[in-house]
Amino acid sequence: MDWEVVIGLEVHAQLNTTTKIFCGCPTAFGAEPNLHTCPVCLAMPGALPVLNGAAVDKAIALGLAIGAELNRHSIFARKNYFYPDLPKGYQISQYELPVVGKGALTVQLPDGGEKVVGVTRAHLEEDAGKSLHEAFIGQSGIDLNRAGTPLLEIVSEPDMRSSVEAVAYLKKLHTLVRYLDICDGNMQEGSFRCDANVSLRRPGAPYGTRAEIKNLNSFRFLEKAIEYEIVRQRDILESGGRIVQETRLYDANRDETRSMRGKEEANDYRYFPDPDLLPLVLDESRIERVRETLPELPDARRMRFMRQYALPAYDAGVLTAGRTLADYYEQVAVGVDGKLAANWVMGDLLGALNKAGVELEDCPVSAGKLRLLVQRIEDQTISGKIAKDIFDELFHRGGEVDAIIDSRGLRQITDVAAIAAMVDAIVTAHPQQAADFRAGKDKLLGFFVGQVMKASQGKANPDQVNAILLEHLQKG
């Protein structure tokens, strides 16, 4: 009998506020250790937290985007444990009453299907600092720059049934937080990371005992960690063993998960309401104010792309996966064929960016230039093939579309007389091939087209070349 895998994800999205959640220190990444600290985030005696309203608004935005209940009254709680990079000896989080309640996310699967994944809750909390173990012999360094950075922990229901679904959910959430501009989504820097709860059961049976895999910071690691965990748990269960509820860490180098600590060693966090912070009260006007600032969300935009630009579902999905890419595409697609624009953005543009390791934000070819290039194909000033050369030049050396066309003489030849002259010369120069063609070797047409295009340095209009050649050869 088969096993069914049950997966729930806890995602930590670092909110992209300019200052920390309970003090005015900057959240910028990469500063000298402990530069971005103050008495509050260093937990000096007598220092008190003051909630950053911008973090609350970003939590509200997520809640609205997933159609969640927004708790009008939520509570900050202290999660107590000792660790050197947790300066207060407790983390301020939300426990019994989170700001965002039940919601749902519709996820597109690679096979074209869709799945609705429940979101249990999302709550605000502060990040801890970092312990630095390198460069200190027998000691550890503590960097508290990250301490107090706002996080939104988004907890899903155990609704996913494969690593594919889990990855699709995580990708969708990743897209959403960037659309909402609440998180930069940088997984390498840890701005968007997830813990996966994985268990196996016989279909229809109650949930099995789960293992929690911590700190997965890429889609691929999530997939591989789940796949490893499925095999590990299946082997245990099928050999008559029992799964231990525990926290595990994924080791990407060895492609395996390892036990961090068992439940018996689990901390009792002694949560209780933080008496330094008043209950967080959301009034309707605040929620409405956030609602008004919400951008068009990915699902709505994907549907609109299919309708407005006549794009296939796949293209619309790719182009709306990121807000910046979708914005770029929409600027290219003004007044040109939507599918042609999509081909250019998804093919040449993304390929070039990928190859060069450049982000779209830093793309040397503006959307306006790419649109003009597409227009020049459509108005037959250049051929698609020439356009690829021009794009390459724009990307690597810069310049303007029309100036490159003119200075390099790339304007397409559409003059019938000029093309006919070239055709005549080529046919005359290859009498044997012309005779063979007339004798029935149709494939030789391609040879002649190639010769004419070569003679025109690629500038002759291929459709016209085809037509004139046929006419010329058949005339004999």
């Binding site: 008495p39 260093l42 000096m44 005696p45 008190l48 107590n80 002694r270 209780f272 330094d276």
Partner: protein, 490 residues
């Protein structure tokens, strides 16, 4: 009358008239501190040169035309308020060498008014105690009888004000820590409504109960200090937007028609008969001035101490977690590993009473006990609040004893924590409710120990309490009595 017995109003008049300068006044008090502090141990740190410099600055400001009510007047802070550049110990070995790089809001505000800080005052360790015996820096002695405790936790503040080392001081009150030592030392102290005085930079014991306030020799001086201390502070989320007020404005209102409630529960078993009689005489004086006195009930008051000793340790166990040996605290030498660093640093840095409360607090928040202790205590807290709400529908002020007994001998209750906890039996409910309360001297026992009368008011009725205390002090002389303290013989 000597300079060290002057009220704030008299000191201001003297400074205005150029009878003396702030430097002269400061010098007199510094000399008095150096003579008497060895006997009292009220100061943990004396900041002599900083004080003289601040006094000179105040004199210059006065010469330039300024005339603020507190300009150039010496004071001292309970060593729980962080002071930039001057160590803040909180009465603990844990913070013996801690120097904050910032001022508490209270310190900042009083300093801006031109007050001259003479130093930092002794206290029970992390404000946990009712006798000032838990201080790492040794017990404070009661100026009225140096074999007696001054009360706690603001014992250094009470003793310093009573002995004329400073005219006014700051204190903090989590379960009675301003009122109880004020009563035992014969001075006036008010615990304001929760949210009146910023807690920023005031080292937390139990955040939902802690409140800073003034300790002085009369109600008017308390009002003068509270006028500056009470203010909305955006750095403290629990600071009330309407915290500020003018507490002098209503000070002179006559008591005619004032409705005074006397809770039956405050005159039951455990109350010293001398204290009872003295407080009854104080209530009679209020009636003589036209107040209508009636008996009331606060039925849940008997649960206040046990409720408090769940909630306060719970919050403390978390608040004190930051003192972990990693950053600015005491650190045990050569720990074998991280666990030992924590355990040894905290074992060495905290005294027995603090450790006891951390253990209790950790226990009541633990999985499986939270509902039985912490949650239940919060429910009782609501009932206590409700008691007061009902009472204040009928009366304007509730009056009773501040403490069940006068000052007791040093060491008398050290072996029995519960006996010590009961010293706060009448003060704790006020903190649980968050209402304001004040202790005013109302007489002496036959042995010559001061007795305090407690006035409790509804939320934001701090001005009414000061008004009642002030009118009382217009017709009584108890607050004018001064102990004769002698320098300890070498």
């Amino acid at each position: 009358m000597e300079l060290h017995e002057f009220s704030l109003r008299e000191l201001r008049q003297g400074l205005r008239n150029r009878d003396f300068s702030s430097v002269e006044l400061t010098t007199v008090l510094l000399k008095r501190i150096s003579a008497l502090n060895p006997a009292l141990n009220a100061f943990v740190t004396v900041t002599e040169s900083d004080a003289l410099a601040a006094a000179a600055t105040a004199d210059a400001r006065r010469a330039a035309g300024e005339d603020g009510p507190l300009l150039g007047i010496p004071m001292a802070h309970k060593d729980i308020f962080c002071t930039a550049g001057v160590r803040t110990t909180c009465g603990s070995r844990m913070l013996e060498h801690f120097v904050a790089p910032y001022n508490a809001t209270v310190v900042e505000r009083l300093t801006a008014e031109g007050m001259v800080m003479l130093g930092k005052l002794n206290m029970d360790e992390f404000a946990m105690g009712s006798s000032n015996e838990t201080s790492y820096f040794g017990p404070v002695r009661n100026p009225w009888h140096t074999g007696m405790v001054p009360g706690g936790s603001s014992g250094g503040s009470a003793a310093a004000v009573a002995a004329g080392l400073v005219p006014v001081a700051t204190g903090t009150d989590t379960g009675g820590s301003i009122r109880q030592p004020a009563a035992l030392c014969g001075i006036t102290g008010i615990k304001p409504t929760y949210g009146r005085v910023s807690r920023y930079g005031m080292i937390a014991f139990a955040s939902s109960l802690d409140q800073g306030g003034p300790m002085a020799r009369n109600a008017e001086d308390c009002a003068l200090l509270l006028n500056v201390m009470a203010a909305h502070d955006p750095r403290d989320s629990t600071s009330h937007p309407a915290a500020a007020s003018d507490f002098l404005r209503g000070l002179e209102r006559p008591l005619q028609g004032l409705r005074v409630g006397v809770p039956e529960e405050f005159f039951g078993v455990g109350l010293d008969p001398e204290v009872a009689a003295t407080v009854q005489a104080g209530i009679a004086e209020l009636a003589r001035q036209g107040a209508a006195v009636q008996s009331i009930r606060l039925p849940n008051n008997p649960h206040a101490v046990s409720t408090y000793y769940v909630l306060a340790p719970a919050e403390a166990s978390s608040n004190l977690a930051r003192f972990d040996g990693v950053r600015y605290t005491h650190r045990a030498p050569n720990p074998a590993d991280l666990t030992e660093l924590y355990q040894q640093s905290r074992y060495e840095g905290f005294g027995a009473e603090v450790r006891r409360r951390i253990l209790v607090g950790t226990y009541v928040l633990s999985a499986g006990y939270y509902d039985a202790y912490y949650r239940k205590a919060q429910q009782v807290r609501s009932l206590i609040r409700e008691d007061f709400r009902r009472a204040f529908a009928e009366v304007d002020v509730i009056v009773g004893p501040t403490t069940p007994t006068p000052a007791f001998p040093l060491g008398a209750k050290n072996a029995d924590p519960v006996a010590m906890y009961l010293a706060d039996i009448y003060t704790i409910a006020v903190n649980l409710a968050g209402i304001p309360a004040l202790s005013v001297p109302c007489g002496f026992t036959a042995a010559g120990l001061p007795v305090g009368m407690q006035l409790m008011g509804d939320y934001f009725a701090d001005d009414l309490l000061l008004n009642v205390a002030h009118r009382y002090q217009q017709e009584t002389q108890w607050h004018r009595a001064h102990p004769s303290v002698h320098a300890r013989e070498a």
